[in-house]
């Protein structure tokens, strides 16, 4: 008996993955739970175990393929292959599973049973009836099913706020070529007209980043607020701790994390998300920081949890471990999810200022550029101005202006800068 093995559901809202490794070959005998496939999704690698002890009959995919949940990966044959469809799927919340009735079967059965009123509602909400899970008697799709589906869609892929009717009414008028919403993408020119080109497929981490950036750019009216922090004293302290404790991993970032966490307690708006559908700001009472890590494959942001509860030592170690794992491609999917705020530090590589993109669906991201010695005007005890060399760290807070205003950002950043300027203040917040 031959059994096809399809890509199982990988978790919340994840529909596709890239094949990274196929550790088995045709003819191999595999044991149940043996890893038969390694896929990568949203920058994390996931191992797929075999549901049977059987022989690999055929392999339908290749390394590099982009596959979707329910695509056939390989087929098995042998006694171990059960008659019934194995229900071993990674645990996912049933409600959040994307509606997966294959479209072909539905069409064969003819039009979707739904009353005329329900069909009209579906048109109004731009819902394809074939994708809706019916809960009405005798397999009928009810109006409630349609509404629930439309809301579910809004959660998974935030739709533009305007309903379809408005779009239709706008149709008879000429669309403006300088309205960013209405400009349709013209086809790219044939670049080879001007010289040689090389094409690289957008895959893996790069593709994930592209999607995420497009989403964030489209959704968030972002403002960048720049500040400078005098970290002369802080850095002295840091080097002293490092020497005394031998803690190689005690970086500046660790202190910034602490300062930011402390400030967020007083400015919770920056540790939040905007629920555009419900028109509510979701303030988070937890402090999980995404820390951007530059890897060979691109920018990946693992998450350190409960940064407010951890000591400097704990944070240093955890950060180092996470960064190493991430660079090695070993970060698990859970490690990349759940951040409430993000820190990005390009300073090691250089740069005086930059305008980071908010990590949707967060509200704010704190960027660190290169700390450098600069001549600074300072007043001494008697009020006379002198020029001194000070170690200055450029900071930037990029935030969602729908949730917070420039004044809030200014105050928030001031708080951070004050804390960093005087390490004693930082101690008080720990």
């Amino acid at each position: 008996m031959t059994r096809a093995f399809k890509l199982p559901d990988l978790g919340e809202g994840i529909h596709e993955a890239e094949i990274v490794e196929i550790p088995v070959a045709v003819g191999d005998e595999v044991e149940e739970d043996q890893t038969i496939l390694v896929v990568e999704t949203d920058k994390a690698a996931v191992e797929i175990p075999s549901p049977y002890s059987a022989t690999v009959e055929s392999v339908e995919v290749e390394v590099g393929d982009l596959v979707r949940v329910d695509n056939v990966m390989m087929t098995f044959s042998g006694n171990g292959v059960a008659a019934e469809e194995p229900e071993e799927r990674p645990e996912t919340a049933e409600e959040e599973r994307p509606q997966k009735e294959p479209v072909e079967t539905r069409e064969q059965k003819g039009p979707v049973p739904a009353s005329p009123a329900t069909r009209r509602l579906a048109r109004e909400l731009d819902v394809d009836l074939r994708q809706v899970e019916p809960t009405g008697p005798a397999g009928r799709v009810t109006a409630q099913d349609v509404r629930a589906f439309a809301e579910g869609e809004a959660e998974r892929e935030p739709a533009p706020a305007e309903p379809r009717e408005e779009e239709r009414e706008r149709r008879p008028e000429a669309t403006s070529a300088v309205d960013p919403r209405s400009v349709s993408l013209p086809p790219l020119p044939d670049f080879e007209r001007w010289g040689e080109v090389e094409r690289i497929e957008l895959r893996s981490v790069r593709r994930s980043i592209a999607k995420q950036m497009a989403l964030s750019w489209a959704q968030i009216p972002r403002v960048s607020h720049h500040e400078e922090a005098d970290i002369t004293e802080l850095d002295r302290l840091r080097r002293k701790y490092k020497e005394e404790s031998g803690l190689e991993s005690l970086t500046l970032t660790v202190f910034i994390i602490k300062a930011a966490a402390a400030a967020l307690r007083d400015f919770p708006r920056f540790n939040a998300s905007l629920d555009a559908q419900a028109e509510e700001i979701v303030l988070k009472r937890y402090y999980h920081f995404g820390v951007a890590v530059d890897t060979e494959r691109g920018l990946i942001v693992p998450v350190v949890r409960d940064v407010d509860c951890k000591s400097l030592i704990q944070l240093s170690n955890e950060l180092q471990e996470l960064a190493e794992q991430t660079r090695a491609g070993e970060a698990a999917l859970e490690d990349l999810q759940g951040a409430s705020f993000t820190i990005t530090n390009v300073g090691i590589l250089g740069g005086t200022a930059f305008t980071p993109i908010v990590n949707y669906p967060e509200v704010a991201i704190l960027g660190m550029a290169r700390a450098a010695w600069k001549p600074v005007v300072r007043a001494d005890e008697s009020g006379r101005q002198k020029i001194e060399p000070r170690l200055i760290l450029p900071l930037v807070l990029a935030f969602d202006h729908r949730v917070a205003d420039g004044a809030d950002a200014a105050r928030f950043m001031r708080a951070i800068v004050e804390t960093l300027k005087d390490p004693h203040k930082l101690m008080l917040t720990l």
Binding site: G110, P111, P113, A114, S115, P116, R119, R120, R123, E124, P137, A138, G139, R140, R164, E165, E166, R168, E169, R171, P172
Partner: protein, 475 residues
């Protein structure tokens, strides 16, 4: 006829004042749009109201009455043969038609729809040229084309009022009761009118190209009617064509050629040709727009009734089969709704059809023969009216209610009814299909007893093996 100079602008121009046109115009006005309705004829209502559905029903009522009066002798009530006053009949028809068409005019006024009597042609995709009115041009933001259809004649033969060769339009004027009438075409309208003339006293001969009456209709439904037709017509010729027709002063000479038979020439007092209708999509300037037509000259539209020109819509007979007034009305409302930004579309699961003969035939959705042709597996639920108490009290035991089900989900796919009152009974079938009802829904809904409507419930029950008044076997 004065060719005016005036140009008016309008938001929605509706071309054609038949069911499709006026339904669209009224809906558009109700949705707040500014509407101009351009009608070629003097009166509103189109073919349906003026020389189609409505006049036909007036005469068909008379037909049924005549039949019942004659049959009453069996019941213990004997009437003498009635005097038929054609003028009186015509006056009655005029009264009904007049009242309805005035009603439409009133509705136009009440809704502020500007009514222009003129012939319209497209000058380009945004402008109409009118003939016969003070207004010469209409510039529109949107347009709805509802120009309807025209009866097809035999090659070389023309319909003329007062002539011996008639289409349904002339036949419904009933200028006189011909001694002999040749009915060419055994389809819906032909059969209806043939029965009218037969009841009024003509000797009717039917000639039909295909092998039976009402081609395309389920034979189970046709059978009871065919028996009646055979009885009341003088002769019926199937698989036969008209190969020549010549009008003389004293009659029409027609040559009929049947399959495998030699041609026969006969003389008839009058000839009624009902072989189909073609869409009125020519000579209205469509070439000056981007509007597309198919090989049969129907205007091509999408689900929103939009033509290839995004702001011009088309509805009714001019866009395709079935050529039915209720289809046109529904489409007219869809088009109006779409223009106003509503999420409308023509996505109906069935369009019921009714033949108003006696017995009537009505059906909607998937028929048994259509399912067979598609190769689709279906199961039937049948109830013969011989078992219906109500049918018997009416003296109408010839009847059949037939439901077509999807065997797996037991969903109602189609309904077919032959018998008196089928025209009203079929609406329940249409609702059942649109709602995605299953056999249990019909079987478990109490239908009053004794009625003809309960035949629908019993047919569903028969399918499920639960029927009371018939034996039903279920696997």
């Amino acid at each position: 006829m004065v060719m005016g100079e005036q140009t008016i602008e309008t938001q929605v121009a509706v071309i054609g004042g038949g069911p499709g046109g006026y339904a669209a115009a009224f809906r558009a006005a109700d949705l707040g749009l500014e509407v101009t309705l351009i009608n070629q004829e003097e009166r509103l209502g189109g073919v349906c109201l003026l020389r189609g559905c409505i006049p036909a029903k007036v005469f068909l009522e008379v037909t049924h009455l005549l039949h019942d009066a004659r049959q009453a002798g069996d019941w213990g009530l004997t009437f003498d043969e009635p005097d038929i006053d054609l003028e009186g009949l015509r006056k009655r028809k005029e009264k009904v038609v007049g009242r309805l068409t005035k009603g439409l005019e009133t509705l136009c006024r009440q809704r502020d729809v500007q009514l222009i009597r003129a012939r319209a042609e497209f000058e380009d995709a945004h402008r109409l040229r009118l003939q016969g009115a003070d207004v010469a041009h209409v510039e529109f933001e949107h347009a709805i084309l509802a120009t309807g259809s025209t009866p097809i004649s035999l090659p070389g033969v023309e319909f003329a009022p007062g002539g011996r060769v008639m289409s349904t339009a002339e036949a419904l004027d009933v200028p006189r009761i011909p001694e002999t009438l040749l009915l060419v075409g055994g389809g819906f309208n032909g059969v209806e009118l043939g029965s009218v003339y037969a009841a009024l006293g003509s000797r009717v001969t039917l000639v039909e190209m295909t092998e039976g009456l009402l081609p395309g209709v389920d034979r189970d439904l046709v059978k009871p009617l065919a028996r009646r037709i055979e009885a009341s017509y003088e002769a019926t010729h199937y698989n036969t064509r008209v190969t020549s027709l010549k009008e003389h002063d004293d009659g029409v000479e027609v040559t009929l050629e049947g399959e495998g038979n030699t041609a026969e020439t006969e003389r008839f007092d009058q000839v009624l040709v009902v072989i189909g209708r073609r869409p009125n999509s020519q000579d209205i300037g469509l070439e000056s727009t981007g509007i597309e037509r198919d090989e049969q000259d129907f205007v091509v539209v999408d689900e929103e009734m939009r033509t290839a020109e995004e702001h011009i819509f088309a509805v009714g007979d001019v866009v395709g089969l079935p050529m039915l007034a209720h289809k046109a009305i529904h489409q007219g409302k869809v088009a109006a709704g779409v223009i106003a930004g509503e999420p409308e579309a023509f996505d109906v699961r069935c369009v019921p059809a009714v033949i108003y003969t006696d017995p009537q035939i009505a059906w909607c959705g998937l028929t048994e023969p259509a399912a067979e042709e598609e190769g689709r597996e279906v199961e039937m639920g049948r109830f013969s009216w011989g078992a219906s108490g109500r049918a018997l009290t009416m003296g109408e035991p010839r009847g059949l209610t037939k439901l077509v089900f999807d065997p797996e989900m037991e969903r109602v796919l189609g309904v077919g009814i032959v018998g008196r009152g089928a025209e009203d009974l079929i609406a329940e079938g249409a609702l059942a299909i649109e709602m995605g009802a299953v056999a249990q829904d019909l079987a478990l809904t109490i239908h009053p007893h004794p009625t003809l409507s309960e035949t629908i419930s019993e047919a569903a029950q028969a399918f499920l093996g639960l029927a009371t008044h018939v034996l039903s076997r279920r696997k």
